[in-house]
């Protein structure tokens, strides 16, 4: 057999940390948010479509929240307007949560991997 001249110093991977449980917890979050494969059956197609639409709504909802906070910080809203805007965004958040529950989606499901650009949210 022709071997490459690049024999490794050690081929067995080692994992080194003093905080195993913390990393297991955090890495589980990453794993759960990886895009799942889409099987072409009626139920998963419906859920996949709902996930895509709700991700876009979530993205816009977060933009609206940021804009509202910027306007609140900028001082160009009266206390009544702040209250009204806050209530509207609260309602929107609650409505989106209802839809997520209906389609069995968690918060971390609402994201899109845009490849080299990164993640949408």
């Amino acid at each position: 057999m022709e071997l490459s001249p690049e024999k490794p110093p050690t081929a067995e991977p080692e994992i080194e940390t003093a905080h195993v449980e913390e990393f297991v917890e955090q890495l589980s979050c990453v794993t759960n948010s990886l895009p799942s494969r889409i099987n072409i059956d009626a139920q998963s197609v419906e859920q996949g479509l709902a996930k895509l639409v709700l991700t876009l709504i979530e993205f816009i909802r977060r933009l609206l929240e940021k804009q509202a906070v910027r306007r609140m910080e900028g001082g160009d809203l009266s206390p009544e307007q702040i209250e009204e805007l806050g209530l509207a965004l609260m309602t929107l958040e609650a409505k989106l949560q209802e839809l997520k529950d209906k389609f069995g989606l968690a918060d971390e499901d609402l994201n899109l991997d845009l490849g080299p650009v990164g993640r949408l949210i």
Partner: protein, 240 residues
């Protein structure tokens, strides 16, 4: 017949006997086939899609990892399945790009560093007694947004610090900031095999400087983060 494709390699003609005990996906025997200048690690696969489960993920990693004993392979994405003719066509079409990728990772392995920030960065909430629920909601959002911005800035600083610590020993890096709320940096480093021991020593020293950070260092792995050939393959063949 379809083939499950694990990785591409060069300068290797047959499997080492040490690979014999390693089973591929669904327990299939893995084999090395030669296509032009490439050695391709494959196993036979019967079916349309590879179930994503622990057993298959470990089988994929074991097959790719075993080849790492002999050379530095270019791993393909988990679940890559193609007919042999498609595989030949793909390799012929992308020969130059794949050769360039192999040049890039030759003699190297991937090391991984993940860092958790162990301090609460969130602003303590002010009392919301004087405002209605709408305004309190917006105040909470403000704290959330500012906390996120602080975490992002902290992550950038930590990533920059890490880069400086290992820079002389790293050929290339891929860094992800804030993949989760507390995991602020996930870095993959392409390290020459002979530099792995000094790299580990350097990190051990660096970790002592930052007791507020929790580290997970792992490797050596095949250069998964530096292959980046799976999407093109997927698009071309529509594999699962």
């Amino acid at each position: 017949m379809k083939l499950y494709v694990y990785c591409l390699a060069e300068n290797i003609d047959t499997l080492a006997t040490s690979l014999a005990p390693v089973s591929g996906i669904s327990g299939a025997a893995i084999e090395l086939i030669k296509i032009d200048d490439f050695s391709v690690l494959v196993s036979e696969f019967h079916g349309d899609a590879v179930p994503v489960n622990r057993e298959n993920a470990l089988a994929h990693a074991a097959a790719v990892g075993s080849l790492l004993n002999e050379t530095t392979p270019l791993p393909l994405r988990f679940g890559t399945v193609a007919g042999e003719q498609h595989l030949r066509s793909y390799l012929a079409t992308h020969r130059e790009a794949l050769k360039a990728k192999l040049d890039q990772v030759r003699g190297c392995v991937e090391m991984s560093v993940k860092i958790i920030w162990n301090t609460d960065l969130d602003e303590q909430p002010a009392p919301d007694d004087d405002v209605g629920p709408g305004a309190a909601f917006l105040r909470a959002k403000r704290r959330e947004i500012l906390g996120g911005e602080r975490r992002a800035e902290q992550a950038r600083q930590v990533a920059s610090w890490l880069h400086e610590q290992v820079r002389p020993l790293v050929r290339q890096d891929e860094v992800s900031l804030c993949p989760t709320e507390r995991l602020i940096v996930a870095a993959a480093h392409l390290v020459a095999r002979e530099e792995v021991a000094p790299y580990r020593e350097r990190l051990t020293e660096s970790r002592k400087m930052r007791p507020e950070l929790h580290f997970l260092v792992s490797g050596p792995w095949a250069p998964y983060s530096f292959s980046n050939i799976e999407l093109e393959f997927k698009t071309r063949f529509g594999v699962s």
